[in-house]
C-alpha cells in the first residue's frame, strides 16, 4: 500500500445550522484514483471544497503528505498541489483559452506542451473566448487547466455533468492517460458510477454527510444492496 497523499480526519462541515459533513474519515493513497460516490446531497462536493479550502470545517482536519492544511487558504493549497475542478464549468468565460491556461499553468512552456498534447483542439482555439466554446470543449479546457498545473492531487467534481456519452468517454480516457503516464493522484466525484468504477482503485460512498462504505470497485460491484441503495441500481 503506497503512503497516503491525502488524509481527511473526522471532518465536519456545516452551512449555518445544516450539517453537510459529519465526522468523515478518508484516505487517498499516493498515485491512486479514488472515487467518491453517493446520492445527491450526500456531501461529496462539500468534501472536495473543504479539501481545497473553499469551505471551512467546523471540526476535523485535512492532511496533505503528512502536513496539516489547517488555516491554509485556498490559493496556497493550490500552490501546494491541491487542484479542484469545480462542478459546472471550471473556466473563466470572459478570458481567452490562452489566458485560461496561462492563469493555471505552473511551468508555462512545459504545461502548454502537455495541454496541446492532450487536447489538440484547444491549441487551435487559443484566441477564442472560453465562454464561447461548446460545453464539451469548456469541460476539456477545465481539465486541461488542471492537467497543465501538474498538481499532486487532482480533484474533479462531476466532470461528465451535462455532456454527451461520447465526450464522457473522451474525458475518461484523458483522465486514465493522465493517471497512467504521469502517476497523478486523482479524487473523483462522479454521477456516472460505471465510469468512476472503471477508473478507481478505491471507492468511498457518502450518504447524508456520513461515510457509509469504503472498499475496492470489485467489492462494490458484487454488492447488489450497496449498488441499489446508493447508486440507483
Amino acid at each position: 500500500m503506497p503512503a497516503a497523499l491525502l488524509e481527511v480526519e473526522d471532518l465536519s462541515v456545516a452551512y449555518g445550522r445544516i450539517s453537510a459533513l459529519d465526522g468523515v474519515d478518508l484516505v487517498v493513497p499516493d498515485g491512486s484514483v479514488v472515487a467518491l460516490l453517493g446520492p445527491n446531497g450526500a456531501g461529496k462536493s462539500t468534501l472536495l471544497k473543504a479539501v481545497a479550502g473553499l469551505v471551512p470545517p467546523i471540526a476535523g482536519r485535512v492532511v496533505l503528505a503528512g502536513e496539516s492544511l489547517e488555516g491554509v487558504p485556498a490559493h496556497c493549497r493550490a500552490d501546494l498541489g491541491v487542484c479542484l475542478i469545480p462542478e459546472g464549468r471550471g473556466i473563466f468565460p470572459s478570458l481567452t483559452v490562452a489566458d485560461n491556461l496561462d492563469v493555471a499553468l505552473s511551468s508555462h512552456d512545459e504545461g502548454m506542451r502537455r495541454v496541446v498534447d492532450y487536447f489538440p483542439v484547444l491549441g487551435e482555439r487559443r484566441a477564442q473566448l472560453a465562454g464561447t466554446l461548446s460545453g464539451g470543449e469548456q469541460q476539456m479546457l477545465a481539465l486541461a487547466r488542471a492537467v497543465g498545473a501538474q498538481p499532486r492531487l487532482l480533484m474533479a467534481d462531476e466532470l461528465s455533468l451535462g455532456l454527451a456519452p461520447l465526450l464522457v468517454r473522451t474525458i475518461a480516457e484523458t483522465l486514465e492517460r493522465v493517471h497512467e503516464e504521469e502517476s497523478r493522484t486523482i479524487l473523483l466525484v462522479e454521477q456516472y458510477a460505471t465510469l468512476a468504477l472503471r477508473l478507481a482503485d478505491l471507492v468511498y460512498i457518502l450518504n447524508r454527510g456520513r461515510l457509509v462504505w469504503a472498499g475496492e470497485p470489485d467489492e462494490l460491484r458484487a454488492s447488489k444492496v450497496l449498488v441499489e441503495s446508493y447508486l440507483g441500481g
Partner: protein, 617 residues
C-alpha cells in the same frame, strides 16, 4: 484661429475627462464593481492635496507623491478590506455592491463637509500656470500639456497592464470567477487590493488634476464625476481606448466648440434671431453636455444589454412579497393604526419650530414609498427619484402660477407629469438590467436637472418658482397644522395605492419580475407592460410627494434639492431602512426628518439631506 484654440483647450480638458473615465473603466474591469464613489474619492484626494500644499505649505515634490501614490491607493486598500471583501465573500449581488459604493460616496461627501466645510477653495496647481505660445495666437498651458502627457502615459501603462502582464490576466480572472481564481493559486485578496489601489489611485489623480487651479468644493466638484460616467458608458465599461476617445473628442472638444456656437445666428447669412427659445438654447450650451451624451449612449447602445449583469435585487429585498398582504392578520393593522394616530396627534405635542420637520417627514414618506414600490416590489433600480419628485413639483408650481390652476388640481397634474417622465424613462430601460438600469435612470435625472431645472427660463433660476399651499371650498391649508394634516391625508392615499400595488395578482407578478425576468416571462407575464406600469405608478407617487415637499418650503427650487445627490441619498436611505415593505419608507423618512430636526442644521446644500424646512411655516 479661434476654433483651433478652442480645440486645443477642448483636448486638454477632455484629457482629464478621459482620465476620469479610464479610472472608472479600470475599476470596473479590475473589480467588477461600478464605483459610484469615484467622484467622492477624487474629491477627498484633491482636498488632501490642497491641505498639504495650501494649508501645511508642503513642497510639491512631497505633497504630489503622497496624494497620488499614498492617499488615493490607500483609500482603495481600505475600501477593499473594510467594504468590498466582506461583500465578495458572501457573494453579494450587483445591486448590493452598487448600494455599497453609493454609501461610500455619501460617506466621502459627509467627510469632506465635516473636515473642510462647503466653502469653495482654490485648488492647488500641480504645474505652473504659464503657457506655450504657438503660431497664430494658439496657446497651450503647461498644466494642460502635463495633463495630456499624463493621460497618454496612464493609457499606455493600463493597456500594457491588461494585455501584456500576468497580473493583468490575474485581475481579469478574479473579476470573472473569484473562487476559481483562488483554486488556480491566485491570491484573490491581493489582486483585489491591487485593483482597488489602482482604481482609487487613478481617481485621486483625476481629482488633483481637475482641482489644479480650479475651484474646489465638495458638491460641485463631485458632480464632475458625471463626465466620467458618460465616458465609461460610451466605452461600455470595458474599452480603455474608446474611453480616451470619448473623453477627448465627445466631451472635451465638442463642449469647447459648442461654447462658441450661437443658436440665434444662421451661419453665412447674417440673420440673427432674438427669440426667447434661441436664448434658451444658448443657455443650454453651458449645461452639462455629458448628461446628454450619457442619455443618448444608454438609449442607443443596445450592446449594453449584455453588460452589467445581476438583474435581480437579491439581497436588497426580503423574499416575502406578493400576495402577502392577503394573509395579514388583524393584528397586523395595529402598528400602522397606532403610527397613524400618533401622526395625527403629533402637532398637539410639538412646537411650531419642530412642525416643519414633521411636514418634511410626511412628504418624504410619500417619495420614499415610490422607491419601495419600484425597487422593493418590482426589483427595478431607480436613481432619479428626487428628480421625478422635482419634476412633479415643477409642473404643479408652473400650472398653478402660470395658468392659475388651483393647487389641489395642480398636485395630481404634477403627479401625472411625473408619471409621463417615469414612463418615458421606463421605455428605454425596458431591456436594461441592474447596473445599467440604474445608470439609465440616473442619466435621465441628470438630463432633466441640467436642461430643465438648471434653466432660468423654465425653473426660475436661483429664486425658484413660488409653490402655493392648497385650499378647498374656502378652507385654506396654509397654516402649519392644517398643511401637515393635509399632507397626512395625501400620504394615506398614496400608501393605500402602494399597498394595492403589492397585493393580489399584481403584487405576485411584480415579485416574479423582481426575482427573475426569465421566470416571469416563462409564466406569460408581459414584462414591458408591467415595467412601464410600475415606472409610471411609482413616479406618480414621487411626483405627488415632490409637490408637497415644494409646498412645504413654499418654493420649488431645484438648487436646494431634487438632484443627483438627493436621489442617491434617498435610494440608500430607503435600502438601509428596508425597501421590502412600506414600513421601510416611513422608517427611513422618520429617521431622515428627525435627524434634520435634531441637528437643526441647514443640510440641504450638501445634498446629504434632502430638504430644508421653510422658515416661514
Amino acid at each position: 484661429m479661434i476654433w483651433v484654440q478652442l480645440t486645443v483647450v477642448g483636448v486638454a480638458i477632455g484629457a482629464i475627462y478621459a482620465l476620469a473615465g479610464m479610472g472608472l473603466v479600470l475599476t470596473y474591469k479590475a473589480t467588477g464593481i461600478f464605483n459610484f464613489a469615484y467622484g467622492g474619492i477624487a474629491m477627498l484626494v484633491a482636498y488632501m492635496y490642497w491641505q498639504m500644499r495650501s494649508q501645511w505649505h508642503w513642497p510639491l515634490v512631497i505633497a504630489a507623491p503622497i496624494a497620488l501614490l499614498v492617499v488615493g491607493p490607500g483609500i482603495g486598500v481600505l475600501l477593499e478590506r473594510v467594504v468590498f471583501r466582506p461583500l465578495e465573500r458572501r457573494g453579494a449581488s450587483t445591486p448590493e455592491k452598487l448600494v455599497a459604493t453609493l454609501g461610500v460616496f455619501l460617506l466621502c461627501l459627509g467627510l469632506a463637509f465635516k473636515i473642510w466645510t462647503g466653502i469653495v477653495r482654490q485648488g492647488s496647481r500641480i504645474v505652473s500656470g504659464r503657457s506655450l505660445q504657438f503660431g497664430g495666437n494658439v496657446r497651450l498651458g503647461f498644466d494642460q500639456l502635463f495633463v495630456l502627457v499624463f493621460t497618454l502615459v496612464v493609457c499606455v501603462l493600463l493597456w500594457m497592464l491588461f494585455s501584456r502582464t500576468h497580473i493583468g490576466t490575474e485581475i481579469r480572472a478574479v473579476v470573472d470567477r473569484r473562487e476559481l481564481a483562488e483554486l488556480s493559486a491566485i491570491d484573490a485578496n491581493r489582486v483585489a487590493r491591487i485593483s482597488w489601489a489602482l482604481g482609487c489611485g487613478l481617481a485621486g489623480a483625476t481629482g488633483v488634476l481637475l482641482a489644479s487651479g480650479s475651484p474646489l468644493d465638495p458638491y460641485h466638484f463631485t458632480l464632475l464625476v458625471v463626465e466620467a460616467f458618460s465616458v465609461a458608458v460610451v466605452a461600455r465599461l470595458v474599452s480603455l481606448p474608446v474611453a480616451v476617445a470619448a473623453g477627448v473628442l465627445l466631451l472635451g472638444v465638442l463642449q469647447s466648440l459648442l461654447s462658441r456656437v450661437d443658436f440665434g445666428h444662421v451661419p453665412f447669412t447674417g440673420i440673427h434671431f432674438s427669440h426667447g427659445w434661441t436664448q434658451a438654447l444658448n443657455s443650454l450650451k453651458g449645461a452639462n453636455i455629458s448628461a446628454f451624451i450619457l442619455v443618448v449612449a444608454l438609449i442607443v447602445d443596445r450592446r449594453l444589454d449584455d453588460v452589467g449583469g445581476g438583474s435581480s435585487t437579491t439581497g436588497l429585498v426580503s423574499r416575502t412579497m406578493g400576495g402577502r398582504a392577503r394573509a395579514r392578520s388583524r393584528s397586523g393593522w395595529v402598528v400602522p393604526a397606532l403610527v397613524g394616530a400618533a401622526a395625527v396627534l403629533l402637532p398637539f405635542f410639538i412646537d411650531t419650530i419642530t412642525l416643519p420637520y414633521a411636514q418634511i417627514t410626511v412628504a418624504l414618506a410619500i417619495t420614499f414609498t415610490s422607491i419601495v414600490c419600484i425597487t422593493g416590489f418590482a426589483g427595478q433600480i431607480t436613481l432619479f427619484q428626487a428628480v421625478v419628485a422635482g419634476f412633479g413639483a415643477f409642473i404643479a408650481a408652473r400650472v398653478n402660477i402660470s395658468l392659475g390652476v388651483p393647487v389641489l388640481v395642480a398636485i395630481p397634474i404634477g403627479g401625472l407629469a411625473a408619471t409621463l417622465l417615469g414612463i418615458a424613462t421606463g421605455f428605454p430601460a425596458l431591456k436594461r438590467r441592474g447596473l445599467f438600469l440604474g445608470l439609465t435612470t440616473l442619466a435621465v435625472g441628470l438630463f432633466v436637472h441640467s436642461f430643465v431645472f438648471d434653466n432660468q427660463i423654465f425653473a426660475g433660476g436661483a429664486q425658484g418658482i413660488r409653490a402655493n399651499r392648497p385650499g378647498l371650498f374656502g378652507l385654506s391649508f396654509d397654516s402649519p397644522r392644517s398643511f401637515y394634516w393635509f399632507e397626512l391625508v395625501v400620504a394615506g392615499l398614496m400608501l393605500l395605492l402602494a399597498r394595492n400595488l403589492r397585493s393580489g395578482r399584481l403584487g405576485r407578478v411584480l415579485a416574479a419580475m423582481r426575482d427573475s425576468d426569465t421566470a416571469a416571462r416563462s409564466i406569460g407575464v408581459d414584462l414591458r407592460a408591467y415595467k412601464l406600469f410600475i415606472f409610471g405608478a411609482s413616479s406618480f407617487i414621487a411626483g405627488v410627494g415632490g409637490c408637497l415637499l415644494a409646498e412645504q418650503a413654499r418654493v420649488f427650487n431645484a438648487v436646494t434639492g431634487y438632484d443627483l445627490f438627493t436621489s442617491l441619498f434617498w435610494f440608500v436611505v430607503v435600502i438601509v431602512a428596508g425597501v421590502g415593505s412600506i414600513g421601510g419608507s416611513t422608517t427611513s423618512s422618520t429617521s431622515t426628518g428627525s435627524r434634520s430636526c435634531w441637528s437643526r442644521s441647514a443640510p440641504c446644500s450638501s445634498g446629504i439631506c434632502p430638504a430644508r424646512p421653510s422658515s416661514a411655516c
